[in-house]
Symmetry: C2
Subunit: 187 residues, 2 copies
Amino acid sequence: MARWEPNARGRLEQAAMDLFTEHGFEQVTVAEIAARAGLTERTFYRHFSDKREVLFPDASPLYQGLTDALAAAPDTATPIEAVAAVLDTTAAFFTDRHRFSRRRQAVIAANAELREREAVKLASLADALASGLRERGVAEPAASLAAEAGIAVFKVAHLQWVADDDPGDLGALMRTALGELRTTLSP
Amino acid sequence: MARWEPNARGRLEQAAMDLFTEHGFEQVTVAEIAARAGLTERTFYRHFSDKREVLFPDASPLYQGLTDALAAAPDTATPIEAVAAVLDTTAAFFTDRHRFSRRRQAVIAANAELREREAVKLASLADALASGLRERGVAEPAASLAAEAGIAVFKVAHLQWVADDDPGDLGALMRTALGELRTTLSP
């Protein structure tokens, strides 16, 4: 019978991030993460399928948020306005996650396989966003270009956000980055 | 002693692509590729380290072309003008490769692991491009944004190019896509 463990998931996340930061992702075992959190391996596996899932949790809420934001955008929204609405929604997923995101980024930056996983995740999000725009009736290549631009803005603003000691507003950083992308592309 | 085999690399590429197309990438062995090309496995391994390298050859000429194009761009070039110069150079790598690129894209599209490899390759190119722009004195986040925009344009135009029965001009498609990205981003 599973014992009730207060905030087991949060404790496991924090223990994992402490250990990844101290020893590097590859060196850390699930047994060590559970021990550091004062929990059993069995409890770990009730929350995560493996240690990588601490860094790359189930993305379906993010995809659902993306779909919902596109559905909520007015019919009159241009492709890039719809993308901006998605970015605003995405920012909400990161509220109160600055310290976690910052440490996560450092762990990922130190490991080639994790960097590749992050690149694949962002490419999948771009594909989902392009697909959602096509469902709104946006033609190609505008759908793919707007989606790729949105993910580029997310990537750059997210890196700025985690690099900052003071947790600023990720949504504001993304809106600024979108403006900077426009300026950069101006002939 | 290695026998001289006329156009061994080209024959191996074509045999591999035929077999990947017929049976799927995963089902094909190096022995089968060599046999189809009328060559030995030993000859295969003189040209490729494994079957995946047929689809993802050494990218160092591409990186060198990128670096050279940035070096050749005038000091007065804006970041996006420098990126456009890199895209023009990149197009030259694909001249006479339309049939190969088209079949390669179909093989990659059918295999999740290969799609991930392609995403990682494009992300690496974006990083290299951003790094080259910073070396030209472009500040962040403009360097990363211009680089991501350039890779987005490459990705979208390359997909259009391989989808087209008639091998058009990849460079022209990229210039058009860059213009469309500008339009898409206009408020």
